[in-house]
Symmetry: D2
Subunit: 282 residues, 4 copies
Amino acid sequence: MPSYLLSVTCPDTVGIIHAFSGALLGIGANVLEQEQFSDTGTGLFFARTRFECDESDVAVVRAAVDEQTGRFDASVVLRPEDVRRRALIAVSQYDHCLRDLLYRWQAGELPLDIVGVVSNHDVCRPIADRYGLPFHLLPVTPDTKPEQEARLLDLVRDERVDLLVLARYMQILSDDVCRAMPGRIINIHHSFLPGFKGARPYHQAHARGVKLIGATAHFVTADLDEGPIIEQQVVRVGHAQTADDLAEIGRDVEQLVLSRAVRLWAQDRVFLNRERTVVFSS
Amino acid sequence: MPSYLLSVTCPDTVGIIHAFSGALLGIGANVLEQEQFSDTGTGLFFARTRFECDESDVAVVRAAVDEQTGRFDASVVLRPEDVRRRALIAVSQYDHCLRDLLYRWQAGELPLDIVGVVSNHDVCRPIADRYGLPFHLLPVTPDTKPEQEARLLDLVRDERVDLLVLARYMQILSDDVCRAMPGRIINIHHSFLPGFKGARPYHQAHARGVKLIGATAHFVTADLDEGPIIEQQVVRVGHAQTADDLAEIGRDVEQLVLSRAVRLWAQDRVFLNRERTVVFSS
Amino acid sequence: MPSYLLSVTCPDTVGIIHAFSGALLGIGANVLEQEQFSDTGTGLFFARTRFECDESDVAVVRAAVDEQTGRFDASVVLRPEDVRRRALIAVSQYDHCLRDLLYRWQAGELPLDIVGVVSNHDVCRPIADRYGLPFHLLPVTPDTKPEQEARLLDLVRDERVDLLVLARYMQILSDDVCRAMPGRIINIHHSFLPGFKGARPYHQAHARGVKLIGATAHFVTADLDEGPIIEQQVVRVGHAQTADDLAEIGRDVEQLVLSRAVRLWAQDRVFLNRERTVVFSS
Amino acid sequence: MPSYLLSVTCPDTVGIIHAFSGALLGIGANVLEQEQFSDTGTGLFFARTRFECDESDVAVVRAAVDEQTGRFDASVVLRPEDVRRRALIAVSQYDHCLRDLLYRWQAGELPLDIVGVVSNHDVCRPIADRYGLPFHLLPVTPDTKPEQEARLLDLVRDERVDLLVLARYMQILSDDVCRAMPGRIINIHHSFLPGFKGARPYHQAHARGVKLIGATAHFVTADLDEGPIIEQQVVRVGHAQTADDLAEIGRDVEQLVLSRAVRLWAQDRVFLNRERTVVFSS
């Protein structure tokens, strides 16, 4: 029996859950998972439902949902669970996050289709090759940045990319790119934001003498290192560790946090809620 | 506007959520929180809903729910949120968990009514006094255990106790008491179960040389240290710590884990699922 | 047999450990614990030694140490372990850190002498009373701040206070006070520094949508929230928690972090290393 | 300047540190790191010293150490830091720990020489190939176990293997192999020992309904899953996770714990202390 993922965001009001559950009942759906959340601050309602039903035509399912719920001014996303999201991974020279994502992807942990690797350097090509993935070399200089980003957006369009993952991609995306893909670019920042924004966060952390270091996966917005946070984690360090030690220890946390964020997104568990996120973690 | 907590457990089938949400819609309720879970292993469905509505008569609300949902063979618990659960705390000589619970209770963190403290020793009486709570001294010897437990059950009945919290109560309850209060007795065990069951777990942990110690809050069943687990936590230790150090370090974890479990229970977030629990943590 | 704590800080060079261990051997001392660290960045050497010996006159022990080690330009602190540090606790209206410190102190977890509680409000007086501690009410307004701080420093001098613990004391100490007690004032800040400095950090954290919140114990310097960090810890939060929830959840972390920092300091385990600390945790 | 690692284990007594530091001072050594611990329970003293000196002949350094310390009946290990330990990795079909170890090794995180991969299955050969490592296929049946283990020990001898890493090697080593390499075989067990010994620990953990799962790296002894523990870590799980989910989540913890244990061992930081370990973690 086909299974579907239904995501709903709308202004909070009475009767939303009943309307959606009625639509699902009407097509004989069996709810497998359901989470919802009402944010009294933003006045928004969020729900995610995973269900199965005999109907294999997504258009029919969609029509049933729309009929019952049209009055809520809702943003509705519906997809068969086996129509997976398409992801492109951007990387520069540090390869640990790329390797980790590809390993997990091959092991079946990341339910999305990785359609390629893009980089401003050639060093990670062998890794892409090993996994049989196209490697797109897009070098960049300050002068060529507009053209390079145009080619990146072409790639996103041509490959029908749903998600761009910045896996230690050391270039700052222009506002235009950020605005073209809201809620669809995930970056890993190698600090526990909002501490240590910007460059060389491990050196900043060492200089400040913190006792825990961390990593942050967040949506990319035009406001650098200020995008909505999806996932964070920390690890304990001590006085004996150098800044280089912190960078080495931090790699594990970066990988874990990024892969968790990508997996949550791939399962439609992450919602934008103004400057914050709603994350229905399993 | 009055708010209610509704808990539902029943065999999983199609249409449950719709039926309950319909009942709530019918009385004009506004859903504030809702969580549900279907366990494919046990075939059971669990849901917790917090809602508000104009209707202040709980019997009317209950009737509306029953009418829509009677066909599901569901175990339904409904209560106005301000009708709080009544808890009795049992303690022996170690007082840290008792102190922590009472402090959090006074600070408003534990939404239940603590109706008294019961102990087989007199040492914690001043603590109960300070909080204006009745202190029930029920000494026990192997010979007097049946009578002592009878008096304990009398107390539970007379004070209409919903929850008995074993806050380092160092007596093993008989099967009769356990069976009289299924899902209504919470114990803190000072190890990360199932490791180190039984007596002196910190000494066992030290002898085994573990690198993390922990605590476990669980429902009490006739099977010692085998009841369904509600909450667990651990903390790192090292080779330099003695067994006594572990006991001291462990106290913090015991307190945290027990108070979390009690709070979750007080908010109707904990469901029995055969030998396991379903916990809708906030 | 009397036991001693010896702390040494000096420019790093060859032969320091041998000189100190020679001094101890010369008086027949038995080393119970020893830790040392050389910071290649600051060029400083740090060591802490706990030892026991038959000699009960600390002056004799001190002379033996000085004779062997005078050439190292070292800052040496030596004390019999039973001559405990004297601490004064400052608090405003939030009482959880004060309660936690006093409870642990009474339970024998904090090896120092708490000589009193000072506050700019009267609300915590009953807590001090319960533990038989003097309560010093020093109200403060912008106008009276210089006099109030003068009285605070008088208290520090009269009571021979080694450590001033700011247990959610909501006043900013002037530069003069900070400079009068370098490395002797510990504050708990209710965020994971350097994130969310300043006022209302839980509200800042909620607005930013972080997935972990934390607390930081640090030495107080004239530079607000920038003093050397002693200890930090975090706890996971989610989208469903309000700013008030974060404040409640955070209290546990604040207590744990502050009590750990105070205990480490009380055991002479914390050293200033320019803007950072060296912490020989057990 | 060459750097050395010196490890000492002996019955605890007065003067050990002074004797060793005197030996080092005598050859003009500069101590970079030093840790020591006296276990009052076992009566044993442990120390690890990292130092540098002009003397490049390890035999000369060794003689200087022995001369000063011969009277302590000490077990002394001395090696130039660049004479790295030699490790052999054993694996069956689960490849995640192998991949993680090799990735970290190539990234410079594991300061040892990996001399090959041994397996009772052929599936991991391509991974070994990719890193240019010899792959030794040693299939095993109940009947051929003695011969297979003899060939394994031959391999250990021929390749001068210091450390055998069981990276999810699903065979139980015979007592003879365990006894041949005390303190030189590290296993990763996929549970938080002593909970869930034996087979299928994630299924056991799911059935018991624990709220945290973990992994344990330990020395292998003839007593299955009872060897001295080197490192442990846990991760939170909930009621919604299946046993298969636990296995997937647990893989991250297994990798982290095993690689940490191997790194600690490779840096001579792990000492056997009867049934426990002393670990001087950096």
